[in-house]
Symmetry: C2
Subunit: 152 residues, 2 copies
């Protein structure tokens, strides 16, 4: 009778008390998914992903910046930022040129269209932020941000 219910109970001891739903990894993945969905919906009219928005915003902020440096600021590794930047360039939102002093580096610069686009969607980004935090009280919102920042 002990073996009649399949593999489940044969490993009950090892799995006892292990609730995936209570683990940071699971909760982070879920919360992140939800935010991406909200952000994407709010940006549907311009089709900017969260990473594209971040990369373009930092480029506008800094004016001229190296691709890898931008990646570090935006929390994307070289392989990832490469694709993000490529898509932004294709859409005419930024430009890329080689540095004359260091011919390895690609120096990025936003185009007029890029600057204008970012300026026009900052409000949407704020909105997505608020909506994502909507289930929390004002104090809780401050807390999550501080805690997530600490988890780096």
């Amino acid at each position: 009778m002990a073996t009649s219910e399949g593999p489940t109970n044969r490993s009950a001891e090892a799995l006892a008390g292990f609730i995936v739903e209570d683990h940071v990894g699971f909760l982070l993945r879920r919360a992140h998914q939800r935010h991406v969905a909200l952000f994407t919906a709010g940006m549907a009219h311009v089709a900017l992903t969260p990473t594209q928005f971040t990369a373009l915003l930092k480029t506008v902020e800094l004016g001229r910046i190296t691709q890898n440096h931008l990646g570090r600021l935006a929390a994307m590794d070289p392989a990832t930022i490469q694709g993000v930047v490529r898509r932004l360039i294709v859409r005419g939102l930024m430009r890329s040129g080689r540095d004359r002093m260091d011919r390895r580096t690609a120096v990025l610069e936003p185009t007029e269209a890029g600057v204008a686009l970012i300026a026009s969607v900052v409000a949407c980004a704020r909105q997505a932020h608020e909506t994502a935090l909507a289930p929390l009280s004002p104090e809780e919102r401050v807390q999550v941000l501080a805690l997530l920042r600490k988890m780096g």
Copy 2:
């Protein structure tokens, strides 16, 4: 001289006070990235990704389960869970068969190897969880988990 510094200052007003680094989206993405890195490193000896671990664990927990249902429990849409399950089956960690009552559904079941593997790595998952939360105090850890759960 107002136009001598490139596009940056021309949009200063619109961007004023907007700090991407303080937004939930950015912080969630970064924290999630860090956890994936920790989890992946801890699971390197068995090469289980966080999603694969979750999917296999829930399957072991529940014994027999429909693919889409598993996806909902594990927070993955049908297109995503499909690939995850396929890779687990290829590795011999679960089985799939058609339900006789409802021939649309793929009924999943863990293999002996799958049950054994999960049991052997639960400790590693716990470890990744702890390491990810390491920068926080015990009270703070409880807080983040509660807050993330609420942000669902």
